[in-house]
């Protein structure tokens, strides 16, 4: 029989999909007594996004919660507290997480790097040194890399592609995105893969097509 509680204060937050987060929590006995003695009526879940916060109330016996309908590709963290009358008392804060992306990035920066096969580590933990500290501080999606806005703080020099890329209309990479339909159907071929992300209805792409030419960046 698995225990109902591990008698500790814990809060865990994880993305489930681009628009859903799941949190679970556990309380130690002392926390639970404090809640009861102070007459807590419910728990407060404050979900912080990069530029906003929203508070959800739930019964104090609840052990988990699904936050649905959140924007994708954003960083979130959760504060768990309890409410007594109109006052809110904090209990625990989660590590930050980032909801996955659900569309192609608007960042079209094209930089190449030469791949080399990796060797087995010479000693345990070699490649993870420094990682935990960054993770615990919780920079979210890019935390493990530092700031991905400049992901190129790398020891290995970056290189441009060995040969030039043939000029194409409205951004070459759009052509390589799956269109959701098997255009090359059994026995026939339409001869081209088109992209749903190029449709006019897609506002993101309308913006993209009016912005920078990735080949300029590459040069």
């Amino acid at each position: 029989m698995l225990p109902y509680s591990y008698n500790e204060d814990r809060l865990f937050l994880v993305p489930v999909d681009p628009n859903t987060l799941m949190a679970y929590w556990d309380f130690c006995e002392a926390t639970w007594q404090k809640l009861t003695q102070q007459g807590a009526t419910h728990l407060n879940l404050t979900l912080h996004c990069e530029d906003s916060s929203r508070t959800f109330g739930t019964a104090k016996e609840t052990r988990s919660y699904y936050f649905k309908g959140i924007p994708s590709d954003r960083e979130y963290w959760l504060e768990l507290g309890y409410a007594v009358h109109n006052a809110v008392f904090p209990l625990k804060e989660s590590l930050p997480v980032r909801s996955p992306a659900d569309r192609p990035s608007e960042n079209r920066r094209v930089q190449f790097r030469r791949f080399q096969f990796l060797s087995p580590p010479q000693r345990p933990g070699q490649a993870l040194e420094g990682w935990r500290e960054v993770y615990r501080q919780g920079a979210g999606r890019w935390g493990m890399y530092g700031n991905l806005a400049d992901p190129l703080r790398l020891s290995t020099p970056l290189r441009t592609p060995p040969t030039g890329v043939a000029p194409m209309e409205d951004g070459p990479e759009a052509l390589f995105y799956y269109n959701g339909r098997a255009e090359i159907a059994a026995g026939t071929s339409s001869g081209a893969l088109s992209s749903p992300h190029r449709r006019e209805a897609d506002p993101v792409l309308s913006v993209e097509q009016a912005t920078t030419d990735p080949r300029e960046e590459q040069r």
Binding site: S64, V165, Y178, A182, L193
Partner: protein, 532 residues
């Protein structure tokens, strides 16, 4: 000279199921059926290609839990017992169908008998019970690229709270790969293709050079990959990522449009284990009287009508259809690559990953389709060649820098299959156990043999509890009771060992008992939970 490449990646995995405490455990048949229907038939295909000098390359995951079962003597022994029973059933069927003047079925019964005998010859005489030898030979001859997986197929995005747990899944897998294949794995199939940004750090630490994600994992990466899924990207850690091509995937996977649903192919859901009188098959089903699939099936899919209305299976017609479908797949890849290569500055790669068990187990003619496909591609066209991710990276090492987005290959493409209202109760226990495991790895008395044995066994129990299969089964509502029991059992065993270790008194009798049951990873090294 070819214009591009196709890389087939077959993911062979089963959860570790081994029950020495039972003479005949129902779930052990998952492995036995997969050996007969998928793993040995695939070996036969590969061996035939090598024998005939057909140029081919293919990548396969052999997950650590699967390798541990295939190398286990008890399971090998039980498999032979299972197979002998099946041969006996096929012999009975040859006699019955002859006596009853059922020539169509007699031909099929004879086909099954001969097939089972051939499998037995391969398993027993050729490889002495360990078919990993056959796969290793193909690895050494550079036809097959074997990649690893999480140690017990743990769903890594749900372990982010305890990086040590992720590290243990990966490093244990690497160590186990070396034990079976005597070399270092170049690539990994992330369990369920479950990725989160930063996971590649752990791969880099383990010396793993590439991994695979689902289509959107790469397409929605940051920055946007110029060539979509037709080129690998490289993460800032130096690890490369390949992604699934949906076009080629859909042609094989789709229940509506995919090949396996063709009416000439064998019907999976009609089996003599259910069709024939109970008394007749009672020796060939579960001893408790539970009817089950034996593998002897006489009907083809026929159509979308009720399962009772099926026409007899015609092996020759099915093989002709497999050849036709192989030709169709090849034709479509030719057109796809011709188009792609005209728009790229290097040869495109189409990565087509599938569950290995689709081939043979679910789609009986799957291995035949592969056989025809490899031969046709070698001789009937010159637009593309088969390759593996490793060979492709050797030829085209310049990769665009990008980081895939969090994703999986499960339903809806993210983590929901492994984290939802039905199975999320698992995670508080797994997380607590992972935290405690780190504590055990620092146990001050690990230099004492009995303490170290207990710490190692605790590690095995945690790894087994982490298998993504349990959460998956609970979601899909198939063998739910078994999946829940396995989760409970391993957490309970872990917790009991933890209690004993914290108190400093290990019950050797209890330890010996569960060591005998959960004997995965004989070289388990709890040090993988250290050093963070």
């Amino acid at each position: 000279m070819s214009k591009g490449y196709v890389s087939l990646v077959l993911h062979a995995h089963l959860p570790f199921v081994r029950h020495p405490e039972h003479l005949d455990h129902l779930e052990e048949r998952w492995l036995f059926e997969a050996i007969s229907e998928t793993y040995v038939p695939l070996l036969h295909v590969y061996q035939g290609l090598v024998r005939d000098g057909v140029a081919f390359k293919v990548a396969m995951t052999l997950s650590p839990s699967l390798c541990n079962m295939l190398a286990d003597e008890l399971l090998q022994h039980r498999y032979v017992r299972y197979l002998d029973n099946l041969i006996e059933l096929a012999e009975k069927e040859v006699a019955r169908t002859r006596t009853d003047s059922l020539p169509e079925f007699e031909a099929l019964a004879t086909f099954y008998r001969d097939r089972f005998l051939k499998i037995r010859h391969t398993f027993v005489d050729e490889y002495q019970g360990n078919i990993l030898t056959g796969f290793r030979e193909l690895l050494e001859s550079d036809h097959l690229e074997i990649i690893t997986c999480g140690a017990t197929h743990g769903f890594l995005p749900m372990m982010q709270l305890h990086p040590e747990a992720i590290r243990a899944q990966i490093l244990t897998a690497v160590q186990d790969y070396r034990r079976h294949f005597n070399t270092h794995p170049k690539g990994i199939w992330l369990p369920e293709c479950g990725y989160f940004p930063g996971l590649d750090r752990f791969l880099a630490e383990a010396g793993i050079s590439y991994f695979l994600v689902d289509t959107h994992g790469l397409e929605f990466g940051e920055p946007r990959p110029r060539y979509g899924v037709y080129q690998p990207v490289i993460c800032p850690t130096g690890v490369a990522a390949f992604a699934r091509d949906m076009e080629s995937s859909k042609q094989v996977w789709s229940s509506e449009e995919g090949y396996p649903g063709d009416y000439d192919y064998r019907e999976f859901y009609r089996d003599v284990g259910f069709d024939l009188p109970f008394e007749y098959v009672s020796q060939h089903i579960h001893p408790d009287g539970i009817r089950l699939n034996t593998g002897v099936k006489y009907y083809r899919i026929t159509g979308k009508m009720d399962l009772r209305h099926r026409d007899p299976y015609n092996r020759q017609n099915a093989l002709e259809k497999a050849a036709m479908h192989a030709g169709n797949f090849m034709y479509n890849r030719e057109r796809q690559i011709e188009w792609l290569s005209g728009h790229m500055d290097r040869k495109p790669i189409i990565v087509a990953p599938y569950d290995a068990e689709l081939f043979g187990h679910w789609w009986f003619e799957g291995p035949d389709w592969l056989n025809y496909l490899f031969r046709k591609v070698a001789y009937d066209q010159s637009v593309f060649e088969f390759t593996t991710p490793r060979h492709y990276l050797q030829e085209f090492p310049e990769c665009q820098l990008s980081i895939p987005t969090g994703s999986s290959w499960g339903d809806k493409g993210y983590y929901e299959v492994w984290c939802n209202g039905a199975n999320d109760w698992i995670y508080p226990h797994l997380h607590k156990a992972a935290e405690r495991m780190v504590e055990l790895a620092h146990h001050p008395r690990r230099n004492e043999p009995l303490i170290e044995r207990a710490v190692k066994q605790a590690m095995r129990e945690l790894l087994l509890a982490q298998s993504s299969d349990w959460a998956f089964i609970i979601t899909t509502e198939t063998a739910v009771e078994y999946a829940v029991r396995r989760t409970d059992t391993h957490i309970e065993r872990f917790t009991e060992l933890y209690r004993q270790l914290v108190e400093g008194v290990v019950d050797e009798g209890y330890l010996t008992e569960i060591e005998a049951k959960d004997n995965i990873f004989p070289d388990a090294n709890p040090d993988v939970y250290l050093a963070l």
